[in-house]
């Protein structure tokens, strides 16, 4: 199918406590591999997904965090992090695994307006 749609995937939850972060990531990579125009948003507790130095060995759960680094290989360049969510948690973009675009609510609202499909996890 040759049609292209703009797909946005919005992440709200922290990793590991539930599988949402991992399965959202799987969907994101699939959408990118399918050559759709993919945007990924991390808001609220979702910003914790990108935190560096996650080590899940003591809870014997697979650590999928390194896979965020493959965003570049998949040509996923529209990665947005809610600025206020980071700040409220005492974090900055230096604490994250990958380069992101920090955006405020207004900018995210405008980005949402450009999408064809928006899925929340």
């Amino acid at each position: 199918m040759s049609t292209k749609k703009r797909i946005m995937i919005v992440n709200h939850r922290p990793p590991h406590g539930t599988l949402h972060a991992w399965e959202s990531l799987d969907l994101t990579l699939t959408a990118a591999a399918f050559e759709q125009e993919v945007s990924v948003v991390f808001m609220g507790d979702g910003v914790f997904q990108l935190l560096a130095d996650q080590d899940t060995s003591q809870i014997n759960i697979k650590n999928f965090a390194p896979a965020y680094r493959t965003f570049r290989d998949y040509d996923i360049r529209h990665v947005y992090v809610e600025k206020e969510a980071l700040a409220r948690r005492g974090l900055s973009s230096d604490d994250l695994l990958i380069d992101v675009n920090l955006v405020d609510t207004g900018a995210l609202c405008r980005l949402m307006t450009e999408q064809d499909i928006i899925l929340h996890f």
Binding site: R13, P14, D45, F48, Q58, I59, A65, G90
Partner: protein, 104 residues
């Protein structure tokens, strides 16, 4: 009325749910609170819980499960100084030292 030592466990972040806040309303002197799974984010010095923890004179001790801190990349971060880190054997010990365990 017999008095019971009580351990409260919470597994949701302060953003995901108001369970931690509710739990603290029902935590009395001598009780212990243990943060596990996503609740360990509450141990960050800057979090929705900042300023809401019981103070030292309350007789309440707050613990956080270290393996869950490590899994989430929080080990090297700025955590609330009064929250004590324990591992799974420590979790087991807390359960034995208290008469009743409430998982909120």
């Amino acid at each position: 009325m017999d008095w019971k030592r009580m351990l409260h466990t919470v597994n949701k972040s302060p953003t995901e749910s108001d369970k931690l806040e509710t739990c603290l309303r029902f935590t009395q002197a001598g009780h212990a609170v243990l943060l596990i799974e996503n609740a360990v984010y509450a141990a960050l010095a800057e979090s929705a819980m900042a300023g809401q923890w019981p103070d030292k004179s309350s007789g309440i001790t707050v613990y956080v499960l270290t393996p869950d801190l490590a899994a989430r990349g929080l080990l090297g971060r700025d955590l609330h100084p009064d929250i004590r880190q324990i591992d799974y054997p420590g979790f087991v010990r807390l359960v034995t030292e208290n008469d009743v365990v409430q998982s909120w």
